[in-house]
């Protein structure tokens, strides 16, 4: 896995060591970076997604809060459709359904699109930040 703050790559065991004597280790869904002590959701660390990195809409979880980062498509007509829907930077967006088609809420409107259009929308997840209780000394 990879730290989403400093980009340090580490294994499961190292992560366990980083947690030290924390009494909530059992069943904890967070991992701590042994390099900088940053805590992140396990899933994100495994994906190796850096903090604040834009991901395509189809990678969001249902009802996860996010905001539009940018639109990436070479097809001008798709782009125009997305503009008409108000898919523009810094607009809050949540995915409501992923199957059989994508449904997302943007501002106060609800739209359904297919996977191709959904994957051309890039979003930033609302950042889940857990300040570390104890600052670990940086490893050499």
């Amino acid at each position: 896995m990879k730290c989403s703050l400093c980009g340090w790559e580490f294994g499961e065991q190292e992560a366990g060591q980083a947690c030290g004597k924390c009494w909530m280790q059992k069943g904890c869904e967070l991992v701590r970076c042994p390099q900088c002590g940053f805590e992140m959701v396990l899933e994100r660390a495994v994906r190796g997604e850096a903090a604040g990195e834009a991901v395509s809409l189809d990678r969001l979880k249902m009802n996860e809060k996010a905001e539009v980062s940018h639109v990436h498509t070479q097809d001008r007509r798709s782009l125009q459709k997305l503009i008409a829907m108000g898919v523009l930077p810094r607009t809050p967006i949540t995915v409501v359904r992923k199957f059989p088609s994508y449904v997302f809420r943007i501002d106060h409107a609800l739209f359904s699109v297919d996977k191709e259009l959904a994957s051309s929308i890039y979003v930033k997840r609302a950042f889940l930040y857990h300040p570390p209780f104890v600052k670990l000394p940086l490893t050499e």
Partner: protein, 475 residues
């Protein structure tokens, strides 16, 4: 506004404005803005008024474009959005949305499993129970047997017998295929109630905002047949009237999608009159009904799948706004139903009357018998009595006219279950009515219009033959 490497939107707009001299009844700024967005209409106008400016303006636009990898309209939209948000923040205050029940229902409708169950219930209660069994069964029976059979027909017949001395002319009005006894009766007693009941259901469904949700549910399946979820709307409307629905295919974005939708509407989507009559006729035999529905559905998917493979062009892309769910508004539903039924009736009645006149003329000259004889051979091949040839001939005049004929053939006890299913399948798939054929040609051109009809003629009998053939093994 923000600058992009020395090329701000404002500077570019100023430059374009300075190149313009003509009067376009719009502010120069707006004209410049539209030119920057490469609006074709305004560009044409400028080309007419001041052709020398167009080239220079294009250079300015190209220069603006070259300084960013994003398309111009995207960059402008970002600006608009920022301005709009700024204005809105001063003028609008938002309350926390009250969610709860409505949101819950919405999730239920858009869930692949519960949404599918709901769709089935809509089809069963709305279409089968309400339109098929009640509309096409109970109400039609009342109009047919009581209103026309007991009161109107005997009275009209007596009237014409006393007024018109010639048998030939009497036949035109009150004979077996008379204008009044057949034309008016089919239109008023049979088709009108069925169509009215269908459009009541359709208007209610439309008014609640269910259709976009259905489009969302079916997009994946429709993609397989070369259409997008948007095509759900003309397809569902086609269950009312295929002619109307073919006009609505204009809402589909590409020609490829429009051709596929037109083909499927003409082939495998029964109109409300056919649907009502077929549901009513087959309702005593659930297995036969399932066989008919299964065959039609299979043909719909198979032909769509093959058409999507064969026809060239881009794959469709799907997007649709999902409006909030609302309770249907009674006056909305009433007005929409009224307008649609009026449109339908206006179109249907003259054609029905005309058909009666044609048949009368055809019988007089022997032309009608000739055509029926011609159809007799294919009828025998698919195991139908030769009298069924008439309903197919009628069916080409109007789909619903043929369906009405089938209704009567069944009423007289001339068909067994196997023949009913074969006739129902063949009639559903058979050529669209004249009105729809004309619209097909008008909307899609002669080549596509005729091609679709020729394919359907052969294919519908082919499928009916297969069903008739296979029945021997199953039953």
């Amino acid at each position: 506004m923000t600058k992009t490497a020395g090329f701000s939107v404002e500077e570019t707009l100023g430059e374009i404005e300075s190149l313009l001299s003509g009067d376009y009844r719009l502010s120069k700024r707006l004209v410049a803005l539209l030119l920057l967005e490469e609006d074709e209409e305004i560009e044409e106008k400028v080309r007419q008024k001041e052709p020398q400016a167009v080239q220079k303006i294009k250079e300015v636009v190209a220069a603006f474009q070259s300084h960013s990898k994003d398309f111009i309209e995207y960059r402008l939209a970002v600006h608009y959005k920022r301005r709009a948000a700024h204005i809105a923040s001063k003028a609008v205050r938002l309350r926390e949305e009250r969610t709860g029940f409505r949101k819950w229902v919405d999730l239920f409708l858009m869930h692949p499993v519960t949404g599918g169950i709901f769709l089935f219930l809509v089809l069963y209660w709305g279409l089968y129970r309400f339109v098929g069994v009640f509309g096409a069964g109970t109400v039609v029976d009342f109009f047919e047997d009581t209103v026309f059979g007991r009161y109107l027909n005997p009275w009209v017949e007596a009237f014409f017998t006393s007024v018109v001395p010639w048998q030939i002319l009497r036949d035109l009005f009150v004979g077996e295929y008379g204008v009044v006894t057949l034309g008016v009766r089919y239109a008023v007693a049979l088709i009108l109630p069925i169509v009215t009941f269908f459009f009541i259901v359709f208007s209610i469904i439309e008014d609640t905002g269910y259709l976009p949700r259905l489009a969302m549910l079916l997009d994946r399946i429709f993609k397989k047949i070369g259409l997008s979820g948007r095509a759900v709307i003309p397809m569902v409307l086609g269950l009312g009237c295929d002619t109307m629905a073919t006009l609505v295919t204009r809402t589909l974005p590409t020609r490829r999608e429009r051709v596929i939708a037109t083909l499927l509407l003409a082939l495998a989507v029964p109109c409300s009159a056919q649907l009502g009559v077929i549901l009513a006729i087959l309702s005593p035999y659930p297995k036969a009904m399932m066989l008919w529905a299964g065959t039609t559905g299979f043909v719909f998917l198979l032909v769509g799948f093959l058409a999507a493979r064969i026809l060239p062009g881009q794959k469709p892309s799907f997007y649709i706004e999902i409006p909030p769910l609302r309770w249907p508004n009674v006056s909305n539903v009433a007005v929409k139903t009224y307008v649609r039924v009026k449109w339908y009736f206006k179109e249907v009645l003259p054609l029905f009357l005309l058909a009666s006149v044609f048949i009368w003329f055809g019988r007089l000259t022997g032309l009608f018998d000739g055509l029926v004889n011609l159809l007799r051979w294919p009828m025998e091949q698919i195991g139908l009595p030769s009298k069924a040839a008439e309903i197919f001939l009628f069916g080409f005049f109007r789909r619903d006219y043929g369906a009405a004929g089938l209704y009567h053939l069944n009423d007289q006890g001339l068909l067994d279950v196997r023949q009913l299913v074969v006739a129902a399948v063949a009639l559903t798939l058979f050529l669209p009515c004249i009105a729809q054929f004309l619209i097909n040609v008008k909307e899609r051109g002669w080549k596509a219009g005729l091609g679709i009809s020729a394919f359907i003629l052969v294919f519908s009998f082919g499928v009916a033959w297969v069903v008739n053939f296979l029945w021997g093994f199953v039953a």
